[in-house]
Each structure stands twice: as structure tokens, then as C-alpha cells.
């Protein structure tokens, strides 16, 4: 089954997020209060290694499993959407303690109330589609 590798990758991701407590509402509160290094350590390590990996992939022009050159898309250069969208996202992240990945990992962990957060997130996504032409990007 071709999709199995994605399920397994997701499974590993879910275990990482749960075991490192990145899916914890308490840990997110601790982060936004700057009271522990834990979450900064996780994100910082991922970014430092990520920057290195992406630079190496570009330098050696590495190919993916299908033999295509791995390419990276530049984000468009306007800034409003990133700042305003990011701020709205941050409000929700601090309130629910969950960004989109952890919402789903938490459901698997047994926090079924997170289903309500996911429903909210789907409504929010739809609302953005509804009014996006009226927003500054």
C-alpha cells in the first residue's frame, strides 16, 4: 500500500509530539509565559537541523524517492497576511494549547474534547475562504 509510509510517518510524528509534551496545554502556557526552555528547545533544535538539512539538499541538488529534484517554493513577499494571520492563529494557539497537528494527536491520546476544537478549526478555515477577498494580504 502506497499510503502506508505516510501513515507511519504521521504515527512517528504523533508519538514525538505526545512524548515530548508539545501537545500539552500546560506546556504552551509555559512557553507563552517564558517560564521554561522546553518548547523553545524543541522548535529551536528542529529549525537549526532543518536549516542545515535544507541547505544540504539544495547544495547537493538531492532528488526525492521518485527521482525528481527536491525544490522549495518561496513564500510570496507581502507581509500583512503573515503578521495578521499569525496573530489570529496565536490567539487560538494560546487559548486551546493546540496547533493543528497536536489537536489530532490529542484526540488519539484520548482528549475527545479536542474534537470540538477541530470543528472550530474547520469553521475558521471555511470562514477565511468566505471573507478572504475583503482582508488585507
Amino acid at each position: 500500500m502506497k499510503g502506508l509510509k505516510y501513515i507511519l510517518t504521521g504515527l512517528v510524528f504523533g508519538v514525538i509530539m505526545a512524548k515530548s509534551e508539545a501537545i500539552s496545554w500546560y506546556r504552551i502556557q509555559e512557553m507563552f509565559r517564558f517560564q521554561a526552555f522546553h518548547m523553545y528547545g524543541i522548535i529551536g533544535t528542529a529549525v537549526i537541523l532543518g536549516v542545515t538539512a535544507v541547505a544540504l539538499i539544495k547544495k547537493f541538488r538531492l532528488k526525492d524517492s521518485k527521482g525528481n529534484l527536491i525544490t522549495f517554493q518561496d513564500k510570496d513577499k507581502r507581509w500583512q497576511r503573515y503578521l495578521f494571520g499569525g496573530m489570529i492563529f496565536g490567539l487560538g494557539w494560546a487559548l486551546t494549547g493546540a496547533c493543528p497537528g497536536p489537536m489530532f494527536v490529542n484526540i488519539g491520546y484520548g482528549y475527545l474534547a479536542m474534537i470540538i476544537v477541530v470543528i472550530g478549526a474547520l469553521v475558521g478555515t471555511y470562514l477565511y475562504g468566505l471573507i478572504k477577498d475583503k482582508l488585507p494580504h
Binding site: 528542529a46 492563529f89 490529542n106 488519539g108 475558521g124
Partner: protein, 185 residues
């Protein structure tokens, strides 16, 4: 080995593992970004007939849905096979701050006050979760990505827009934490 996996994982293991997931997906020819799944779910529900944003062939995003399904399974594995019963080691300062908000630290991953079964019978509790989720979903699509797409994939590719988005995440998060939570709880 199992005993080791059951311990809470240190930040450097977790950070390295997240970078590995991102790189693995790149070698599969894909890009790590979880919030795109929320759009795909809207598309599957038929939103593409009404709104152009959701008018795409969801099958191109099937891989990401499978990844998301896997991450739910990962949560199941973490809470069963890799379960440990020690309380979360939250900093004393955070425990104290939350106590002042009236939120009790119960040693679990998430406070039962906000995510326990009793929330289902509290209109305020449900509303908090719904509105919080809506802000995450709206903000992620507006910003063109969430923590995985911007903070991990975007910053790894040294994208200035992703840095702006991450700064936005923190402005919003701090406004909620320091200004709005005391009003809500």
C-alpha cells in the same frame, strides 16, 4: 527500550525527530504542513462548490490526510504502549500563574477543567474550545500555514514571511495569555 521510550522525551530528541519528519516528507516529494488538511476537509465536505479556495482535487492531498490519520494513531500509541504515570514536570512559576487564573495543575497533559468530560455540559467550556479552534483555523489559512508549515518548514528554508508569521504567532499568543485569559477565567 520500552522503558526508555515511556519516559518524557527530552527537547533535543524531539526537535531532531521533528526535523527528521520534515526531511523524510521532502524525500517523499511532499512538504510538511498540517493545517492544509483543514482546507482539504472543507473541500471533501463540498465547500469547493461555493468557495474558490476549496475548489481543488482533494486526492492530491490524500497523502497529508493519511499523515494526519497516522498522527492520531501516534497519540493512541503514546497514551497506551508508551504511557507513563508520572505527572508532567511543569515549571513552578507556570503552576502558580495558572492557579491565580483559577486553573488547577493536575499533572496531566491538558487540564481536565478545559478538556475533561465535564466540559461537554458547560456552554462556556464548549464555546472556549470552538472559538479557540476557529481562531487557529482562520489564522492558519490567513497566514498560509501553521507551526509546521511556517515555524518548521518555512524557517528551515529561511523564509522571511515565515519569520513574520512566527512573530505573529507569539504576539497573538502573548496577548491571549497575558491580557485575555485573565478576563476569560
Amino acid at each position: 527500550m520500552l522503558e526508555l521510550l515511556r519516559q518524557p522525551w527530552p527537547w533535543y530528541i524531539s526537535g531532531a525527530a521533528i526535523a527528521f519528519i520534515m526531511v523524510l516528507l521532502l524525500f517523499f516529494g511532499k512538504s510538511f504542513g498540517v493545517s492544509a488538511n483543514l482546507s482539504t476537509m472543507c473541500t471533501i465536505a463540498g465547500a469547493g462548490k461555493r468557495l474558490e479556495l476549496f475548489n481543488f482535487d482533494w486526492k492530491t492531498e490524500k497523502w497529508n490526510l493519511l499523515f494526519l490519520f497516522g498522527s492520531v494513531l501516534g497519540g493512541v500509541v503514546a497514551s497506551t504502549l508508551f504511557q507513563n504515570n508520572e505527572p508532567l514536570r511543569l515549571s513552578a512559576a507556570t503552576i502558580e500563574d495558572l492557579k491565580r487564573l483559577g486553573i488547577v495543575f493536575d499533572g496531566e497533559l491538558n487540564p481536565s477543567q478545559l478538556f475533561g468530560a465535564e466540559v461537554m455540559t458547560s456552554p462556556k467550556g464548549i464555546l472556549v474550545l470552538l472559538i479557540g479552534g476557529a481562531l487557529v483555523g482562520f489564522g492558519a489559512r490567513y497566514a498560509g500555514g501553521c507551526t509546521s508549515g511556517h515555524a518548521i518548514s518555512g524557517l528551515s528554508n529561511m523564509q522571511l514571511p515565515s519569520l513574520i508569521a512566527v512573530i505573529g504567532f507569539f504576539i497573538g499568543g502573548m496577548v491571549m495569555t497575558h491580557l485575555l485569559l485573565p478576563l476569560l477565567f
